[in-house]
Amino acid sequence: MPKLDKAALEKMLSARPAGGDWIKVGMSTCGLAAGAQEVYDTLVAEAKLLNAAVRVEKCGCLGMCYAEPLVEVCVSGMPRVIYGKVDKAAAMRIMERHVAAHELVDGHIIHRGERDAR
């Protein structure tokens, strides 16, 4: 990577964000302590298995530590939602039902109104 100068940084700043579907897993200390690594690994494996065109990414703490591990899902045609208290089984359901079948997964959704409508 060549060092950036002013013009190169400007170009990066104005670049359009990557589109497409994504899943983010909160992987700070709070998430990891609650089992986020297993959730992340499961999501990656399931995405591969189902051949789903979705990026599984890591991110920091969303702030809702009481509901870790947290998984945020943004799939076109579906409302953007956060799933809380996700375990391996829930992660598989998220992949199979939310991502593949476009159905919300019961029970795990944390939807606190404006806060989550970023």
């Binding site: 991110c59 920091g60 703490c61 939807h111």
Partner: protein, 580 residues
């Protein structure tokens, strides 16, 4: 693909299983009204409202209804789901709003990818600072923003930078204080783990503003993941030419390093922190001279907290006026709070300054976990105080908290409910400060110890009325005579609880009772003679021989011998041992 999404949650705590029941009713009604096509309906875990009966939210519009009854279901479907009309009388008041500045990227970007940070507008502040502003303009911008230290003291950041800018020195340093140690506060860790580049960018801008060429992250060693992510951020920034010689091809050169703190609470105090970075024992020293004149190795040094620095890049990118437009009075912008204790939604919340404490605790925090009433809110950690429930409507600002006898501190907010005993809480914080006192100055070393002893005596039922004035006296002496912030603020929890809960202290001392049952020493076991069947189980099992009597005359507990182990109550099959 669904056109509409309906989210349901039964939020009253009496019958949590009713979400499923309503889900069934809604689905049946949708089918009946032929509206199931294109509608995705589901029960959720948390809908952001609490104790509001059945809450229904319809997306994508985001219409939220509360206290929905069975009879409302059909019209919600007919009017709102089918036609998009709003039923006004069912509408819920919107929950308190979070405003994210310091946490803007936490949970939104991959902290290990600098590209993500830049794509989210990162390093735009640095670009403006480097190419459009002079150092004095940067300081003026932060001054206009009214940014104050988020680590505890609340000192205006721009003033600190100005002092360091005017100070003479062959080199200058900027240190990021990430030695977060208040019990229950972890916003700094979260920022470093979730968005390390924002703090790094803030540091570079600060360096540019007052002429520092070297920055240092002082992170406690107990935060290994934060350290790892900061290390990665530094490496990436170097690779991209955002650190090192001639940043972004401009004239400014700056680099940073990491120092690990070994976990002493006092090292969060700036002079002790400097000693620790220099490799000496973490002892504070008297000020002045202030670090801005005589800091690291004698050079002018600014020490800023993690959250403070994370606020700097957006201030420079969007302008100080934007930041100052948020908040209330002299407390501008936002503050991150770590909400813990008996609250339902423990976690981090970032709100505009001036939001009532009640909104944070009830709307964002969801009230208490037990459903019991909030007794008080403790803010500012071991240096802070308690805010009793009567003052929960106070807008949260530096000034208001100080007036109530507490402090903003680093933003720890511990919710206490009716089961918490203030003497017990006070003992906990004081114990923490006694453990963490470095021992250099007598007021803190001895005063803290003496106060703790008095509190322990009170909680064991051995308090005397003179204890309260004595606590006051020691506390005041500690505040006045201690060398550093730790000792000066350690008595705060005691003073503030004495101010608001003197009756509870007196209850412990005079009536020798702890209504919450938290102070074990004050528990009294007694045999209820009406229920007692004289089976002798209690006497047989009492390890202290404190239950004299026989099966003829009955049994009593001799309070002078009782060690309050509770064994008698456990073995009694008739529930005849009362615990008061």
């Amino acid at each position: 693909m669904p056109d509409k999404t309906i989210l349901l949650k039964y939020t009253s705590q009496d019958a949590p299983a009713r979400t499923k029941e309503f889900l069934g009713l809604f689905t049946a009604a949708l089918r009946e009204l032929d509206a199931l096509e294109g509608v995705n309906i589901t029960g959720v875990e948390d809908i952001g409202l609490y104790d509001d009966g059945l809450v229904v939210r319809i997306l994508p519009e985001g219409i939220t209804y509360r206290n929905v009854q069975e009879g409302d279901i059909r019209r919600i479907i007919e009017l709102t789901v089918k036609k998009g009309q709003i039923i006004k009388e069912l509408l819920a008041k919107p929950a308190a709003k979070e405003t994210r500045v310091a946490l803007r990227n936490c949970g939104a970007i991959d902290p290990d990818r600098i590209e993500d940070y830049i794509a989210a507008g990162g390093y735009a502040g640095l670009k403006r600072a480097l190419f459009e502003l002079k150092p004095d303009d940067i300081i003026a911008e932060v001054m206009k923003a009214g940014l104050r230290g988020r680590g505890g003291g609340g000192f205006p950041t721009a003033n600190k930078w100005q002092l360091a800018r005017k100070a003479q020195g062959a080199r200058k340093f900027i240190i990021c204080n990430a030695d977060e140690g208040d019990p229950g506060a972890y916003m700094d860790r979260s920022i470093l783990e979730g968005d390390p580049h924002s703090v790094l960018e803030g540091m570079i801008i600060a360096g540019l503003a007052f002429g520092a060429s070297q920055g240092i992250f002082y992170v406690r060693a107990e935060y290994p993941l934060a350290v790892e992510r900061v290390e990665k951020a530094i490496a990436a920034a170097r690779e991209y030419g955002l650190l090192g010689e001639r940043i972004l091809g401009g004239a400014f050169s700056f680099d940073v390093d990491i120092r690990l703190g070994a976990g002493a609470f006092v090292c969060g105090e700036e002079t002790a922190l400097l000693a620790s970075v220099e490799g000496r024992r973490g002892y504070p020293r008297p000020r002045p001279p202030y670090p801005t004149d005589h800091g690291l190795w004698g050079y002018p040094t600014v020490i800023n907290n993690v959250e403070t620095l994370a606020n700097v890049p957006p201030i420079i990118a969007k302008g100080g006026g934007w930041f100052a437009s948020m908040g209330s009075g002299k407390s501008t912008g936002t503050k991150v709070f770590a909400l813990t204790g008996k609250v339902r939604n423990s976690g981090l919340v970032e709100v505009e300054m001036g939001v009532p404490i009640r909104d944070i605790v009830y709307s964002l925090g969801g009230g208490t976990l037990s459903g019991k009433a909030v007794k008080a809110v403790q803010t500012g950690g071991p240096s802070g105080g308690v805010i009793p429930k009567e003052h929960l409507d106070t807008p949260i600002t530096y000034e208001n908290l100080a007036q109530l006898g507490s402090i903003m501190g680093s933003g720890g907010m511990i919710v206490l409910d009716e089961d918490d005993c203030v003497v017990d809480i006070c003992k906990f914080y004081l114990k923490f400060c006694v453990d963490e006192s470095c021992g250099k100055c007598a007021p803190c070393r001895i005063g803290g110890f003496q106060m703790l002893e008095i509190l322990e005596r009170i909680s064991e039922g051995k308090g005397v009325p003179e204890d309260l004035p004595k606590l006051h006296e020691i506390a005041t002496a500690m505040q006045k005579a201690s060398l550093c912030g730790l000792g000066q603020s350690a008595p705060n929890p005691v003073l503030s609880t004495l101010r608001y809960f003197e009756d509870e202290y007196k209850e412990h001392i005079v009536s020798r009772r702890c209504l919450t049952g938290k102070c074990k020493g004050l528990l009294v076991y007694a045999i209820n003679q009406e229920k007692c069947k004289r089976c002798k189980m209690c006497q047989n099992n009492c390890p202290a021989g404190a239950i004299p009597g026989d099966r003829e005359k009955g049994f009593v507990i001799d309070a002078s011998k009782c060690i309050k182990c509770g064994r008698c109550a456990e073995v009694c099959k008739f529930g005849a041992v009362d615990r008061r």
